[in-house]
């Protein structure tokens, strides 16, 4: 296929015969050492421009600049230090020019590393202090210079790569036998923060530091910005998230968190694939946002001239696939909710949703236990771990308790009989007469709940009173009580089961108890980590539930609009209250842990002001989904797990921003 005339000229840089061969050899064993011949002409005159205060420390980060990061701290120190970041940058730019002047490209094209530093540390663990590797093998390492100190004709660089750290032992005489003038380069042109490649033998210094004895040193990438002085000591959390790459350079545990994240995701994937689940991709851009109750992002497609919303869950599309005959599917991917940013919420987050035909919520409970245990073992090596000082045990079967039971335990109030009675009544008489009695039962229950909450010693719990008053149904009331009294106290893994039908629009009615569904949420350290149900497969019932959800949502929206209009009269006073109040109540519920629905859990909860914030968006019926159900969906168990929260849990991270590489910032 090669037409010679086309491949002449530049093609010499791409030999055809070799690549296959080279590719087959693992990266680490490619022994092509790059010798770095440097011309002896040295630009010594530039080396003194930068006056960093190198601490003679063997490890850690050397101080490059005393310049503080914020303008506030710089006021005093700037006068003391000769090198502001701008000055450092100019000095380093000059070094870039100098290197080029010497014929060395300060932004190299490639480097053949023979070993990761960690591999060398492991291979030579037994090497005695002061001893040299007897084999005399030449190794090549590459990474970032984290510290540097020069003592006469000797220089020590601390080099860090993806997997570890090693010392570069640069002795002028030894280096310059193969690289004349090399020592001056190391001394004058290499800064902390640069990426360098180094080849040489291995020895352990008298002080016990394993080192590569430099026979060639090459600047691979010249850094222009000095690395920050201190990192973790400074509480500039914002900067850590905004410049994650610096966070990673400075703190090995940050990189470990993201390795753990990757491991958790691949463990989930492997576990599911072993159980014959098929991974699929469903659209992010949807015409109707469904499968949860949350404010969606909107966007516009120019050439189709139509609006799209970004998915708030993958549920409805995945269930269509179960209808289509994919009996076990999952999607691990990004979900988007147009909500406030907090330590537990990022507008985009990752969930895994799993659907298994012929399974029910009971089966999904054991699947959940298995998945979480597998991830814990992969990351922590054990099913026992500590989260923010609290010991957790995932070993034994997780506790299972119904929502009503937990509320009763917490406050003595048992709403289950009333919920069951109301549901039975609703079933008997359609609308009409039962409505009045239902209202009476609700009012009675609310009065009891108010009494319980008002008497509660915990102020936070008392705050839920407005939500109790505005609860539109017994089911919502139970949920309000659960959130106020129980949720935060569920530290050890607990399956909370049998949620009221009113707050679970996509879950199947319980097979024996009217008014509640076959659903569970998994709570650990007071946070929801999974949400699951026996899926509702009855299209008529599904339509009715959607309808009800729509009515409640629109009702709340209209009420909020009316309240807003009223508040507008009272002017700014109200607007401030609304933003504060809204934040407080909304953060607890339309949660991201679940890939599944929250149903109308958040709907209509909270005061008028929060409702305004929560509900001011349009929701609509996904008719096509109901049509799909009309074609028959097998009995199916569905499960959503919030991946970010799981990563937080297993990496002992307090904020979601610690586990998302680039969280959204103001």
């Amino acid at each position: 296929m090669l037409s010679g005339n086309l491949t002449t000229g530049t093609m010499r840089v791409m030999p055809h015969a070799e690549p296959q061969l080279r590719q087959c050899i693992p990266f680490q064993s490619r022994l092509r050492i790059t010798k770095v011949p440097l011309r002896p002409s040295l630009a010594q005159h530039t080396s003194s421009h930068e006056k960093p205060s190198y601490r003679p420390a063997a490890s850690g980060v050397a101080t490059v600049s005393k310049q503080g990061k914020g303008p506030k701290s710089s006021d005093n120190k700037a006068t003391q230090s000769a090198s502001s970041p701008d000055e450092v940058r100019n000095v380093r730019l000059k070094k870039v020019a100098d290197l080029r002047g010497q014929g060395q490209e300060p932004y190299a094209y490639r480097f053949d590393r023979t070993h990761y530093t960690k591999e060398l540390q492991e291979q030579h663990a037994g090497l005695a202090a002061g001893a040299e590797d007897a084999s005399g093998a030449v190794v090549a390492v590459a990474g970032r210079v984290m510290a540097k100190r020069v003592m006469g004709k000797l220089a020590f660089l601390s080099l860090r790569d993806d997997k570890g750290q090693i010392q570069l032992y640069v002795e002028k005489a030894r280096l310059e036998t193969s690289q004349p003038g090399g020592f001056e380069v190391v001394k004058g042109l290499v800064d902390v923060g640069d990426i360098v490649g180094c080849s040489g033998g291995v020895r352990r210094t008298e002080r016990g530091e394993l080192s590569v004895v430099a026979e060639g040193v090459q600047v691979l990438t010249k850094s222009l910005q000095p690395l920050p002085d201190k990192w973790h000591g400074l509480a500039d959390v914002e900067k850590r998230y905004r410049q994650r790459y610096l966070d990673m350079i400075m703190a090995a545990e940050v990189r470990d968190t993201f390795r753990a994240r990757s491991l958790i995701i691949s463990t989930l994937r492997r576990q599911l694939e072993e159980r014959d689940f098929l991974e699929v991709e469903t659209p992010v851009l949807e015409s109707v946002a469904g499968g949860a109750d949350a404010r969606p992002f909107r966007t516009f497609h120019n050439s189709l001239r139509r609006d799209f919303t970004l998915r708030i869950a993958t549920e409805l599309h995945l269930k269509r696939l179960v209808v289509g005959g994919f009996e076990r599917v999952f999607e691990l991917g990004r979900i988007f909710r147009n909500e406030g940013v907090s330590s537990r919420h990022n507008p985009e987050f990752t969930s895994v949703e799993i659907y298994q035909a012929y399974a029910d919520y009971d089966d999904m409970m054991s699947l959940t236990e298995q998945l979480i245990r597998a991830c814990a073992r992969a990351v922590c090596g054990s099913t026992q771990l500590t989260y923010q000082g609290t010991p957790l045990d995932f070993g034994p079967p997780f506790r299972r308790a119904s929502m009503a039971e937990l509320v009763r335990e917490a406050c003595g109030l048992d709403l289950e009989p009333a919920i069951m009675a109301a549901a039975a009544e609703r079933e008997g008489a359609e609308g009409g007469t039962a409505e009045g009695e239902g209202a009476a039962a609700l009012a009675e229950a609310k009065a009891a709940a108010e009494a319980v909450l008002a008497a509660h010693p915990d102020r936070e719990v008392v705050k839920a009173l407005p939500k109790v008053r505005s609860a539109p149904s017994l089911g919502h009331l139970l949920n309000v009580l659960f959130e106020a009294l129980v949720e935060s106290r569920l530290t050890q893994p607990t399956f909370v089961t049998q949620h009221p039908t009113d707050i679970s629009p996509l879950a199947k009615p319980h097979r024996s108890k009217p008014g509640v569904t076959e659903r569970f949420e998994l709570f650990i350290v007071g946070r929801e980590h999974a949400n699951s149900y026996s899926e509702l497969t009855d299209p008529q019932e599904q339509r009715r539930r959607f309808q009800q959800q729509l009515e409640r949502h629109n009702g709340a929206r209209a009420a909020a609009a009316a309240a807003a209009a009223a508040a507008a009269v009272q002017q700014d006073e109200g607007s401030e209250a609304s933003s504060n109040g809204g934040e407080g109540v909304s953060s607890s519920r339309p949660s991201q842990a679940q890939g599944g629905t929250h149903g109308s859990a958040a709907a209509a909860a909270g005061s008028d002001t929060s409702a305004k914030e929560d509900e001011d968006y349009e929701i609509s019926m996904d008719d096509d989904f109901i049509t799909a159900l009309e074609y028959g969906m097998p009995p199916t168990g569905g499960l959503g797990i919030g991946v970010d929260r799981l990563v937080m849990l297993l990496t002992d991270s307090p904020s979601i921003r610690d586990v998302i590489a680039f969280p959204l910032m103001k």
């Binding site: 296929m1 086309l6 000229g9 530049t10 093609m11 791409m14 690549p19 590719q23 693992p26 990266f27 490209e105 932004y107 094209y109 480097f111 970032r144 790569d161 993806d162 990426i195 990438t221 222009l224 910005q225 994650r244 790459y245 990673m248 350079i249 990189r255 993201f258 390795r259 098929l278 469903t282 851009l285 015409s287 109707v288 966007t299 516009f300 497609h301 120019n302 050439s303 189709l304 289509g324 005959g325 994919f326 009996e327 991917g333 988007f336 147009n338 940013v341 990752t350 035909a357 097979r511 076959e518 009855d538 609509s620 996904d622 008719d623 049509t627 009309e630 028959g632 969906m633 590489a661």
Partner: protein, 642 residues
């Protein structure tokens, strides 16, 4: 409307042959016993729709709406609507009873002259009108609910998947039965045939395989009457659970002989016919679940897609790459040249762009010390939809510190050729670039692959030398003249980069049927690639073309922050000159580069296009489960209650 008209043309002939398709159910019933197969569901549905629009007969819609008019064009009140609806229901019920009677009369005499009980029903007694079919089924489940029976059971314990069943019992002899074994399987009924008063044959499908259910009243614990009742409730399309013993029929058909038979989820609509399949593209994409139900080859496309992604993941994992996730919403859409989607974050009152590429974030992670990273995920581009473009699509990008584009070329050859070998069993595949009806071509993935240096390759084709300074106005003019000379159309703005791109498309990409690398793109086309170490003005970049389409794009990454900023500024100039696909300047990224990005090779592949090649499809919609579609003319009803 446009689509409806197209349909009406097709369906009209059919309309002419029947007398008033929606007239009476009795007519429908009488035609049930005609030897012809019932028309495929969708044609029927359209037929019903068309008849609503084209016949003078007034048809009551399913739902009342504010703007509903009666046959005289007067607005219809809700109560009037309800009255009419009831009347229609009564009429339908009556008609159905008559039809059933007629059916019984037609079926009874030859089959079971002595029996008085209801006969077994099968596909031949199906109602052919889709609306009536649906209404009938809804009545049936409502009746069940009325009796306190849940038509949607909570759980059926499946002990064996259907593929496992086939694997385990496929080798039984014809007529052999394992009556001592009990197995429970489940799936969707694809056809139902009665044979006498005591025997029924079903075909059941699940997970892409099919077995037969041989329901014999003699194997059932139920009385004949109860047996008949249970089975008469089941229709084609229903999800059923069967517990029984395995065996083969006398004809050698692998079967299950049920002791227990449960409908787990009734199918309320007439399912698409297995016999005719589902061919209509619009329906296939819009209602993918129907497509998957009927067309086995569609199922397999998505298995292949999953295998491709698995292969790439495994390939990178074994080479020490770390899978990461970077934001899909950004303040600045970087990493590629494309028009982004814009959205708005309410709480922060902030405009955000959907990502067009993860490139810049992944490079920041390499700066952070994760030396080998990759991300497989969705990208979004606000572009037109065509055979190879969907607004959201899936890519894999990986970045490897200390590697360059030549390393990546070798890696690409290895990865893709091994992938093809593993999935297709050979380096050579058959592909139909213009659809299954048109001739096939062979694509040979045997490595090594051809490599063409872009500018010298172009010079050969054009027979002229191109100036070394590609940035000058003279060069731009020369390229514009070449385009005119060779009849290559380049829409404004005619920048040098765009002109070159068109010429390459015309002359080089056309040669790339077998996998071919086009390399060494000019810097002005590649603002994120590193300048070529030997060819001035060029970059160390390659694109892999297969079947004349770009599948991969990779380069030695530009890591000189000063040059990067300059190139971004050129892009900004191009943008202000009207090239709205030029890149945005990302100042954060430039700052990150100043902390030092090691020498790095970066690589991207379009998963959708790769999947198209390996599934022999030429429309990207075929490899997406739910492709983006134009809004439906008969769009979803809004707020049906008000």
């Amino acid at each position: 409307l446009d689509r409806l008209c197209r349909y009406s043309l097709r369906v009209y002939t059919r309309l002419a042959s029947t007398e008033g398709p929606l007239s009476s159910l009795a007519a429908a019933a009488s035609s049930q016993y005609a030897p012809a197969r019932p028309a495929p569901f969708f044609e029927n549905r359209w037929l019903a729709l068309i008849s609503k629009m084209t016949t003078t007969e007034y048809v009551l819609p399913d739902q009342w709406s504010e703007d509903l008019k009666d046959e005289k064009g007067e607005p219809m009140s809700k109560s009037e609507f309800k009255k009419r609806q009831k009347a229609k229901r009564v009429a339908a019920e009556k008609a159905e009873k008559e039809a059933a009677k007629a059916a019984a009369a037609a079926a009874a005499p030859p089959k079971a002259p002595k029996e008085d009980g209801p006969a077994l029903e099968d596909d031949s007694s199906e109602i052919t009108d889709p609306t009536a079919y649906f209404e009938n089924r809804v009545r049936y489940i409502n009746a069940k609910k009325g009796k306190g029976v849940n038509p949607y059971p909570h759980k059926f314990n499946v002990t064996m998947s259907l593929p496992d069943y086939v694997a385990k019992y496929g080798s039984l002899e014809a007529g052999q039965q394992e009556t001592e074994t009990t197995v429970a399987v489940a799936g969707r009924v694809s056809s139902k045939r009665a044979s006498g008063a005591k025997l029924l044959f079903y075909d059941m499908k699940a997970d892409g395989v099919k077995i037969q259910i041989m329901a014999d009243a003699r194997n059932s614990d139920l009385s004949l009457e109860a047996f008949t009742a249970v089975h008469n409730e089941c229709k084609r399309g229903d999800i059923v659970g069967v517990e029984g013993f395995p065996g083969k029929s006398k004809k050698g058909e692998l079967s299950i002989f049920p002791r227990k038979f449960v409908v787990l989820s009734p199918c309320l609509h007439m399912p698409p016919s297995l016999h005719f399949g589902l061919k209509d593209q619009e329906t296939r994409y819009r209602q993918r679940y129907l497509d998957l139900m009927v067309n086995n080859e569609v199922r397999s496309i998505f298995f292949t897609r999953s295998r491709i992604i698995q292969f790439v993941r495994r390939f990178l994992d074994t080479r020490g790459f770390l899978e990461v996730e970077t934001p899909m919403m950004n303040m600045i859409p970087g990493g590629a040249a494309a028009r982004p989607f814009i959205t708005h974050h309410n709480d922060l009152d902030m405009q955000l762009y959907m990502r067009i590429a993860p490139e810049l974030f992944l490079k920041m992670l390499v700066i952070g010390g994760l030396e080998r990273v990759y991300e497989i995920g969705r990208q979004f581009r606000n572009e037109g939809i065509d055979l190879t473009h969907n607004p959201e699509f899936t890519t894999c990008e990986f970045y490897q510190a200390y590697a360059d584009y030549k390393d990546l070329m070798d890696m690409t050859e290895t990865m893709i050729s091994q992938m093809v070998l593993e999935i297709k069993g050979s380096y050579k595949i058959q592909y139909h670039p213009e659809g299954p009806e048109k001739p096939a071509i062979e694509i040979d993935f045997t490595p090594p692959w051809r490599r063409i240096s872009m500018v010298s390759g172009l010079e050969e084709c054009l027979g002229t030398k191109l100036p070394t300074d590609l940035e000058s106005e003279e060069t731009r003019q020369l390229l514009a003249d070449l385009c005119v000379k060779h009849n290559v159309n380049c829409p404004a703005p005619q920048t040098a980069a765009r002109l070159l791109d068109k010429l390459v498309g015309e002359f080089l990409e056309e040669q790339c049927v077998n996998p071919t690398f086009i390399c060494d793109h000019p810097q002005l086309m590649s603002p994120l690639a590193k300048w070529h170490r030997e060819l001035p003005g060029m970059t160390e970049r390659f694109e892999l073309f297969i079947n004349k389409r770009e599948v991969c794009n990779a380069y030695t990454e530009l890591n000189d922050p000063i040059k990067q900023r300059d190139l971004f500024q050129d892009q900004a100039k191009a943008k202000s000159a009207g090239d709205d696909e030029a890149m945005f300047i990302d100042e954060n990224f430039c700052t990150a580069l100043e902390y030092g990005l090691p020498p790095t090779g970066g690589w991207g592949m379009g998963i959708d296009r790769m999947t198209m090649l390996l599934t022999d499809t030429c429309n990207i919609k075929e490899v997406l489960l739910f492709p983006a579609m134009k809004p439906e003319e008969t769009g979803p009803k809004k707020d049906a209650d008000k």
